[in-house]
Symmetry: C2
Subunit: 337 residues, 2 copies
DNA sequence: TGTGGTAACGTGAACGGTCAAGTTGTTTTA
DNA sequence: TAAAACAACTTGACCGTTCACGTTACCACA
């Protein structure tokens, strides 16, 4: 009995304001062709009846939803996503868009795209750090929907926004080299992850370039636990190293604990460098020298780039590469002779 | 020239399958009234033409979007949200819903609700840890839209899902009391936050109940930095304490650093207990005794509860209270005489 | 044999907007 | 002064579904 409040439509407004529904539409969309007095009268009626245009009806005719969708693909337990969703939603909102978030598995990616299309989603940001798929395949799946990957995907000529992992890794390794380290171990992210692959190979290559034998390495999965266990394994291997490159600050926290348990002191005995520069990096024991990735910037650029593509569908796709910075703290130091 | 692919509609299918569009609709929605041969024929045509029902059109007629919206209200920098969005999206998806995420300020909450209604959002999960608003006001704003707060809001009779902060805090303080501590300081979350308020007052009350004078306290804002600074302030105050209760594991990490800088050892000199039991708690130095909040469970319950309300709008609203658990690690120990 | 019931399908009208093409009436222009 | 231009507003069609009836055809039963 309380729900007798029929939703008020554009035609109700028209009737009350003594104009046609089309005139109301013009007023709503701020289009010309309406005299000032009429416009004001209509606006007043809208106020009085607390009218809000039905967005769904609008979608149906305009074929646009002003909604973006974030695909999180093959990410089990998404620590790394952290603030990204909220941040993206914020950036999108500033630009007049909403953000839908959805999980997908790469095996069902096609359905995800179809579903997005059926909802008249305007564009998609994809976070798929382990997705290996040719541009051709992906382009076919996405079915004409604007798509930006928020990843570093050096092989792809589709739109993506990512941090140059080669550069970032080089930054880390060369920092250690400059400090005189010659025996450098690594705990890179899982090679299954695109950035894991590049971190690992770059680490190796830079060392080889410098005539050094790569130290032991053992991949982790982003969890602190994996960093902890990997560090123990490296030490168990018996191979000598004076510096350790770790995939993320979180993994480094785990590694630090392991080193500590083994009675090794950082940076006295072993220098540790990691990636991300999250809040944690400033509060570890000791604070971490780390390669900073400005994820919020990456999110923002990805969203804005997507919107550009939406507004100009014939735009030539390109890749936006961000460069990391080295942040020096206390976990690294020159090797002592 | 590539876009000549007109979207295929229900009528196209009907024409190709030699039935009426209504029959196709019946097939799509798995409703009775269609013979098996016809049903199969229609399904085959849908396959061939790669038909996907237009969800927007469906929304318009059914007045349901199968979409939930997450309001994040007055949260600046949402560390605590972390995996929640992805997790909620997952739970929602399992139940056939999508999740839209949006930020809002409490001052514009009304518009946010209106916007959700205009999109035909089916229900709202609100995360608004600092929102103080009477049930009456909130109920008026939400305009009949099903709403569940993912917060502990002891004053409210609307639907909410939250951890009992009084119980949780009692758990922490009583643990310290059992260990013989008599001088207990606190770094609660900002009193502006609902749970901050309850943590602070409960900490004080439990101590008073036990005939003890509350130790010094200094609120923090969830950041590690605030924990670090608060700990320093407590020590600067010169007031004696042997135990410290800290609002989150992250703040505890900051506090641990501060204590360390002052030459204090945990737990030898000071016992530390915190809240959340995030991954970090296992890898701090020393690992933290902490009160576990199972946030993922909270998220899941909130979503499911919301869907229940959607399915039965006349359901009597209630509150779902979750209880925390104490997780013992190495940051607390009996006071030495 | 006629009445009734039912399974299988078809039709018209929403849903609440936008778009494109009218229809006025007034003003400008040749 | 007739024609053209324009501002202001209206009308009909359409977006792609679902919903509520209508219409068949067929079979059963009294």
């Amino acid at each position: 009995m309380v729900d007798k409040k029929k939703t008020v439509t554009i035609r109700d407004i028209a009737r009350m304001a003594n104009v046609s529904y089309q005139t109301v539409s013009l007023v709503i969309n701020d289009k010309p062709g309406v005299s000032d007095p009429t416009r004001q009268r209509v606006q007043q009626v809208m106020q009085e009846l607390d009218y809000h245009p039905n967005k769904v009806a609008r979608m149906l005719t305009t074929n646009r939803s002003h909604t973006l969708e974030l695909f999180v693909v093959d990410v089990q337990y998404g620590g790394r996503l952290a603030d990204s969703t909220k941040n993206m939603a914020h950036v999108a909102k500033e630009a007049g868009y909403s953000l839908l978030i959805s999980e997908a598995e790469s095996s069902h990616l096609g359905e995800a795209f179809d579903s997005a299309a059926a909802r008249m989603i305007d564009g998609i940001v994809m976070y798929a750090p382990r997705l290996k798929m040719s541009d051709r395949e992906l382009d076919k799946l996405c079915n004409g929907l604007p798509l930006v990957r928020r990843d570093y995907v050096p092989g792809s000529k589709l739109a993506w926004v990512g941090f140059d992992q080669v550069y970032a890794t080089r930054l880390a390794v060369e920092h250690l080299l400059e400090l005189g380290h010659q025996h450098i171990a690594a705990i890179p992210p899982d090679a299954d992850l695109i950035n894991g692959y590049w971190r690992y190979t770059t680490w190796k290559n830079v060392l080889l370039e410098n005539g050094l034998e790569p130290g032991p390495s053992c991949a982790g999965d982003y969890s602190m636990k994996s960093g902890y266990e990997a560090a123990h394994k490296l030490l168990d291997s018996g191979q000598y190293f004076t510096a350790l490159m770790v995939g993320t600050d979180g993994m480094a926290q785990g590694a630090l604990r392991a080193l500590h348990e083994r009675g090794l002191r950082v940076p006295r005995d072993i220098s540790v460098i990691s990636f991300d520069n999250t809040e944690l990096a400033s509060y570890t024991e000791p604070p971490l020298t780390t390669v900073e990735f400005r994820f919020l910037k990456q999110d923002e650029i990805a969203i804005k780039y997507l919107i550009e593509i939406i507004n100009d569908p014939n735009m030539e796709l390109h890749q936006r590469v961000l460069m990391a910075d080295l942040v020096l703290r206390e976990s690294t130091r020159p090797i002592h002779k």
